[in-house]
């Protein structure tokens, strides 16, 4: 924990997570201990951000209902994030 995460919160899979406005979303999730953001659709292995620059798509999550790369977004108050960490019957 870096001590930066104190001025807002984002909702991640239904849980409020403290974050700092302007941090990359990928960074804020990492700092909150949420390392795994999705499971590989083929192998079901856990995956986490890898390249951090929008190339690998390993950090893709749903943000306010749209699929986005967490490394390309910055934290805004009230963001609603849904990860693919756990098994989801719909997938």
């Amino acid at each position: 924990m870096s001590g930066e995460r104190d001025d807002t919160a984002v909702c991640v899979d239904g849980v409020e997570v403290p974050a700092a406005v302007g941090q990359s979303l990928a960074g804020a999730l990492h700092d909150a201990g949420i390392r795994v953001l999705r499971r590989n659709l083929v192998t079901d292995e856990p995956r986490a951000p890898f390249c951090g620059m929008g190339v690998c798509f390993e950090c893709e999550v749903s943000v306010d209902g749209r699929l986005r790369r967490a490394c390309q977004l910055h934290v805004r108050p009230g963001m609603v994030v849904s990860t693919g960490r756990e098994h989801d019957d719909e997938r």
């Binding site: 870096s2 930066e4 001025d7 700092a20 406005v21 302007g22 941090q23 990359s24 960074g27 804020a28 990492h30 700092d31 390392r35 795994v36 590989n40 083929v42 192998t43 292995e45 856990p46 995956r47 986490a48 951000p49 890898f50 390249c51 951090g52 620059m53 929008g54 190339v55 690998c56 798509f57 390993e58 893709e60 749209r66 490394c71 390309q72 977004l73 910055h74 934290v75």
Partner: protein, 464 residues
């Protein structure tokens, strides 16, 4: 609103003199010069703010608490915005129209847009040269660039204890940045031996400023007692659900392997140019060491008329060269479009560009990627991380006798996931036995994944 100006309805074609794709050092520099010559410029970038990777901005409370990071980036961006360049951020160029020139764009709300320009400047930068190894898909394994951005822009440690590995001068500042946010760096693992006296190192003596920069990083590592191993490579990352242990071996196997208990591994072997858009626009590239480099006249002109390239997408050479290439390419575009005020680049600019490119050639010589990194991979190693395709599957498909790499791609699905082969294509090519004579994979639309309705040219409103 991140689309500057008075955007036409989604779907209408926006016309301009020059479309610059990529708002990093090269794109910013070129856009600024062209706008000052009176060109109507649209600058597109897929991120929320301009700057690219090198000039990535601190924002919000991190900016308030820690101050600006690389303030020269902030001034360059301000100058561009003040110059009349129309900046379209959060805009992804995903394809090219039938005329091979019109750029197809997904806007901030995924709405379809298109830009038709008299000249297109591709300044899409580069990305890290990742080479697959056993366990590289484990959470906790990242690129040095990501570890650096976490440390510098977000002020977040990538882990408690890390190994930094691969090759290139970039590993040194990354290691220092990690130390700065409290990460224990267990070792820097460099596959080459660039920090020992040799004739090739002597060539770098002609560039004292850069040598002084590297010496300062090495002094920090020495003071913090971080071992800098040369001639060693990462062979395996292990852990249950996330990284717990990294195994390294000496190149040639002369010494016994070593293991480190770490929760982070930052590894890459330098950078490769992002050439998808250049190729989609019909410009030719050549293959060197398995990576693609656009052919240019040395001043940003590609083999396709009206298509230009600058910055790292023209060849990896660092931020100073990127800015100079932006400036020089802007002069080429201005001359070709017949803009009033078009002039030859200043002699001093061309001289600095030549020197910078010479230094990057020295660097490339010092930090090559050994072929054995890929040829020595075990069959079980995942190569295409998106589709979970292993080295063994690719070798088996190649042994069937397919005529080309696309058939291997079709047979195994390697390169068909969301990253579209950006991470694995050179490794797939190397495993197929091709020594890099042809393109790893051709560039195909969409070069970035977009919702299907964007590709169909419909806006969100029309669909919902």
């Amino acid at each position: 609103m991140s689309v500057d100006g008075d955007p036409r309805p989604a779907g209408a074609i926006e016309r301009c003199d020059v479309a610059v794709v990529g708002g990093g050092p090269a794109g910013l520099s070129a856009a600024l010069h062209l706008a000052r010559l009176g060109a109507y410029v649209i600058l597109l970038d897929e991120a929320e703010e301009l700057g690219g990777q090198y000039f990535k901005r601190r924002q919000g409370s991190v900016l308030a608490k820690h101050g600006d990071f690389r303030p020269e980036g902030t001034s360059l961006i301000s100058a561009v915005r003040a110059s009349g360049v129309r900046c379209w951020t959060e805009c992804s160029v995903w394809g090219v129209g039938e005329d091979e020139r019109t750029l197809l764009v997904a806007g901030p709300e995924d709405e379809p847009r298109s830009v038709s320009a008299r000249a297109v400047l591709v300044a899409t930068g580069g990305y890290e040269r990742s080479i697959p190894f056993s366990g590289w898909q484990l959470p906790g394994v990242v690129t040095p660039g990501y570890a650096l951005h976490l440390a510098t822009c977000d002020r977040i440690p990538v882990g408690q204890r890390a190994v930094v590995a691969g090759t290139g001068p970039f590993l040194l500042p990354v290691s220092c940045a990690l130390l700065d946010v409290g990460v224990e760096v267990a070792a820097v693992v460099e596959v080459n031996r660039p920090y020992r006296p040799s004739l090739r190192v002597a060539a770098a003596l002609a560039h004292p400023a850069r040598l002084a920069e590297f010496a300062s990083y090495r002094a920090v590592l020495a003071r913090r007692k971080v071992p800098l191993l040369q001639g060693w490579q990462v062979v395996e990352a292990n852990g249950s659900g996330a990284l717990e242990r990294v195994r390294i071996e000496s190149v040639g196997g002369r010494e016994a392997g070593r293991e480190y208990d770490v929760d982070a591994l930052a590894v890459a072997y330098g950078f490769r140019p992002a050439t998808e858009l250049v190729r989609l626009l019909g410009a030719r590239c050549e293959v060197r060491q398995g990576d693609l480099f656009p052919r240019t006249d040395g001043r940003g002109r590609t083999t396709a008329e009206g298509v230009y390239v600058a910055g790292e997408s023209a060849g990896i050479a660092g931020v100073h060269v990127a800015r100079l290439r932006g400036e020089v390419t802007a002069a080429s575009i201005a001359a070709d479009l017949g803009l009033p005020g078009a002039a030859e680049p200043a002699r001093a600019t061309l001289r600095r560009l030549r020197r910078g490119e010479a230094f990057s050639a020295v660097t490339a010589d010092l930090y090559p990627v050994p072929d054995s990194l890929i040829s020595g991979l075990c069959d079980g190693t995942v190569i295409c991380r998106c589709e979970g395709v292993t080295a063994g599957q690719i070798r088996a498909a190649d042994a069937v006798g397919w005529n080309d790499r696309n058939s291997v791609k079709g047979a195994t699905r390697a390169g068909m996931g969301p990253c579209q082969g950006r991470e694995c294509a050179p490794a797939v090519a190397a495993l197929c036995g091709a020594s890099g004579s042809t393109e790893p994979f051709p560039a195909r639309m969409p070069i970035k994944p977009v919702p299907i309705r964007v590709a169909m040219g419909e806006s969100a409103e029309e669909v919902s």
